[in-house]
């Protein structure tokens, strides 16, 4: 199957200009390629041309869907970089292990490089800066809720800093990802659950009450 001719099949959306059904598989393929190109080379080298080549589709297929590269990157981030989900397991340790797990998955996953790049380059690309604010905000809201409930349950000291907790947990996961060379990511990726537990136990020791 070739994507270069953008074959109309499957229950794709109808494109309003051409009236041709869109192929959702092409969309996915382009968005995955966009994440790869952005992750590897950053905004400085992010072009529709590079994404089309990587995806194995014609540039026209991309322009049929996205008017420019900024919209393309924004769609890619919308589809592939997900905010932190609300976490409420009833235990602060388990909540934080899940939070760390979500971070590790996003940093080590298929779009991990795009995610870490995004954290670094967001303010250079106004079109996606808003998205990064949302992602950071989702971390803060999730952490704030986790800490508030844990204080109410007597698991954490009153006044525990949400910011420091986030810096230690999110930053710890980020440093773990950045310190892992490309050729070891597969192997290290298998031990992420263990790492999440270790990091949380390490950090929690300092803030648990009593």
């Amino acid at each position: 199957m070739s994507f270069t001719n953008d074959p109309p099949h499957g229950p794709g959306e109808v494109n309003s200009v051409a009236g041709r059904p869109r192929d959702p598989e092409v969309d996915r393929r382009v968005l995955r390629a966009a994440a790869e190109v952005f992750g590897e080379d950053g905004w400085g080298r992010f072009t529709v041309d590079a994404v089309a080549r990587r995806a194995g589709v014609g540039k026209a297929s991309i322009y049929l869907r996205w008017p420019n590269k900024k919209e393309l990157l924004a769609s890619c981030l919308e589809a592939r970089v997900t905010p932190v989900a609300d976490i409420d397991t009833g235990s602060v340790r388990e909540d934080l292990v899940q939070l760390a797990g979500q971070m590790l998955t996003s940093f080590f996953g298929a779009s991990g490089r795009a995610t870490t790049r995004l954290l670094m380059e967001a303010d250079r690309i106004p079109e996606v800066a808003e998205r990064v604010k949302e992602l950071r905000q989702s971390q803060v809201l999730a952490a704030r809720a986790i800490v508030r409930r844990a204080i109410a349950r007597g698991e954490l000291k009153p006044g525990t800093s949400v910011t420091l907790l986030l810096d230690a947990i999110v930053g710890g996961c980020l440093n773990h990802a950045l310190a892992t060379p490309d050729d070891l990511r597969g192997r290290v990726g298998e031990g992420l659950t263990d790492y999440a537990v270790q990091l949380v136990d390490f950090v929690l020791g300092g803030v648990t009450a009593g």
Copy 2:
């Protein structure tokens, strides 16, 4: 004073090809510009042209000193991104506050963006990958020595993980820098010493013995 003509003054090195004294101020200016260009746009857009424009010097002045952009970036990192210095104050808390302080200075300093980029892009640029390994290695050696002495003094539990401690401290500082928007870096930069103390106290709580 204009740098575009590379005026020969000051106790510069004598260039072996032209026999003309090199102006160390031009060197510094070019290396600072290189850090800015690399920090803002990354390797994808790092060109001798862009650095020359930013530094306000002619391209010839750069090629007189560096044969290509890889050597230029390598020199820039050598000059402006420094390994962690050995720290031994006699107290683990003070050692770690100084370690965190060094990290914060490097992430928030004039070449802070170049430093964080470097952590992210190192494996895309073989010529500087070695330098990043050295920088990471200097963190590990410094942290290992700090932990070893602290265990010997009874300040830290035996078996304290150097990796987790580094992830929490270095990652915490990194996340703090990445979460700070450009327009707040000046204000946040003034409170870095306080932040270093808060982060260390937060993390240490979990690993101090007794």
